[in-house]
């Protein structure tokens, strides 16, 4: 018997080929990420300054003069937080209703399909929809309208994430706690929540990360302004639009600041996603797989 590898045998060649294709794909993806980071860091870092994150635009900022994009940073924080909060208020009840009443029934499948379709709709469409709605209601571009549009974008992502977590809840766990004489409320608060919280928090932060970087949905709805909003009815700036407007400028120094704004946005998204990973792995320690 020969146990030596026959390199030119067909099945070994196929495996080698497939492995190579996978590796190439991996290199392309990792390379793209690396290039994106390299571009915004090398072009953005030089013009990133303290004043950029602590000041709002002053006169002539968009022609290369003094100021910063604090208005967009705060605006984006408001928009994404508000949108996420609103989406939680809507998606948690939907996810619980799916679990408790629809389950894996036909209607449950329809609702999940609808959510998946909503997930796939480009955010510019949500923006346009929000804009049409605003005109009907006689509203103007405002923080509130932006929050609503963002909530619509993030709602399907969040609901489906929660739905998956809730569906994966092992029924044995509830029974184990009931067998010890727990009330159903104690089971819900002390056992079910512990089991599901990590997944739900991950879903929320995922949606937050998606929301804060979305430009198209806030383009028509939140507007753009140099001021920091003081009420829900004020229009507000946002980081993705700050990137967009500055990159479109004919002034090179303003374009460089566009890259700096992109760098800030990327850092925020990175912190949120790394933070959610860390939090989830800590909370996940005790969950039952």
């Amino acid at each position: 018997m020969s146990i030596k590898k026959k390199h030119f045998e067909r099945r070994h060649l196929v495996e080698f080929l497939m492995k190579t294709i996978m590796r190439i794909a991996l290199v392309i993806v990792a390379g793209a990420l690396g290039l994106i980071l390299w571009t915004i860091i090398t072009r953005g870092l030089p013009s990133l300054s303290w004043s950029m994150v602590t000041q709002i635009p002053k006169g002539g900022y968009y022609m290369g003069k003094e100021g910063g994009i604090l208005n967009a940073i705060i605006g984006s924080a408001y928009l994404a937080s508000g949108g996420t909060l609103l989406a939680i208020l809507l998606s948690l009840p939907i996810a619980l209703y799916l679990k408790a009443y629809l389950g894996d029934s036909k209607w449950g499948d329809y609702v999940r399909l609808a959510l998946d379709v909503l997930w796939g709709i480009p955010s510019i469409v949500y923006g346009a929809f929000g804009f049409a709605l605003m005109i009907m209601l006689g509203m103007r571009a405002s923080l509130l309208a932006g929050i609503i549009a963002l909530a619509l974008v993030t709602l399907p992502i969040m609901t489906r994430a929660m739905d998956e977590v809730i569906r994966r809840m092992p029924v044995d766990l509830e029974h184990a706690a009931l067998a010890l004489g727990s009330t159903k409320f104690e089971v819900a608060i002390q056992v079910v929540t512990r089991q599901m919280l990590p997944g739900i928090i991950t879903g929320i932060l995922l949606a937050f990360g998606r929301g804060i970087g979305d430009a198209a949905s806030v383009l028509f709805t939140a507007g753009y302004t140099d001021r920091i909003p003081t009420s829900l009815m004020n229009p507000t700036a946002s980081l993705p639009l700050a990137v967009f407007f500055q990159l479109g400028s004919p002034y090179p120094e303003v374009r460089e600041r566009g890259y700096a704004a992109a760098l800030i946005l990327t850092i925020i998204v990175l912190i949120v996603s790394l933070g959610s990973r860390l939090l989830a792995s800590r909370l996940n320690k005790y969950t039952v797989k």
Binding site: A179, G181, S182, T183, Q190, R194, K285, Y286, V288
Partner: protein, 251 residues
């Protein structure tokens, strides 16, 4: 017989399907009772009526009485959480709660507010881990997740967790069927030790396990109790033809 549990005229249905037919039995106090019978004979259903787990199944209906110490646990004014505190359950597969080893044991004591101080909880957790032979294996990692234990250890943890709420009765739904032989033996050993303080009722598939453990045997077939009595009598002198056939391994 000093009966701890009695079932009187017990009929159970899942939808239109009858799972228990007019069951009348007595389960002796502080002994191990084994419920035997082929698959689908209603053993697990009978067991589930003893801690009111039966009603967790959808479309489940029940008529008749289950008396624990003479009190019908299906009476309207009975608190189901108290029933389940008195009648503990060791499930087929261990299902640790999503908590640390320590908290798994302390959980039941906490919800029933059985202790006042941390010191008392600590002592009690240690006590129940010792009873189930886990203390030496886990005392250095009490705050690790319970899921980090082996399946056999998890089942002993579940036993300790159940004992911690101070039940009088322990139900076992094929409690060793998911375990390896050594872990099974370990659980059997624990149940044997516990049987002079607790009334133990186990459902079992394996005849040999029933022979090893049981003081009292209930044999069921198609939802009916065919024969019940002391293990000695049933195994040596079965009265009923069905029981004989089952003991001879004919089905």
């Amino acid at each position: 017989m000093n009966a701890h549990i009695q079932a009187k005229n017990l009929n159970a249905f899942y939808g239109s399907q009858q799972a228990l037919k007019d069951v009348n039995i007595e389960i002796p106090r502080n002994k191990i009772t084994a419920i035997m019978g082929p698959s689908g004979c209603g053993k697990t259903t009978l067991l589930k009526t003893f801690n009111r787990f039966f009603e967790l199944t959808e479309n489940a209906r029940l008529s008749g009485e289950v008396l624990v110490d003479g009190q019908n646990i299906y009476d309207k004014d009975v608190d189901v959480t108290e029933v389940r505190k008195v009648v503990g359950l060791l499930a087929q597969r261990p299902s640790p709660l999503p908590m640390s080893i320590y908290d798994n044991i302390a959980y039941g004591m906490r919800i029933h507010k059985m202790k006042n101080e941390r010191k008392e909880y600590k002592a009690a957790v240690r006590h129940y881990l010792e009873i189930t032979g886990l203390w030496d294996e886990v005392h250095k990692r009490l705050h690790d997740p319970a899921t980090s234990l082996s399946i056999g250890q998890q089942q002993r943890l579940c036993l300790a967790r159940g004992l911690a709420v101070e039940p009088e009765i322990i139900l076992g739904d094929e409690p060793t069927s998911a375990l390896d032989p050594i872990s099974s033996q370990n659980i059997e050993q624990r149940l044997h030790e516990l049987s002079n303080q607790y009334t133990i009722v186990i459902v079992t598939h394996t005849l040999r396990q029933a022979k090893r453990l049981a003081d009292h045997v209930i044999f069921m077939y198609l939802g009916e109790v065919i024969e019940a009595g002391s293990a000695k009598d049933i195994f040596n002198h079965p009265q009923h033809e069905r029981t004989k056939q089952y003991l001879e391994g004919q089905f």
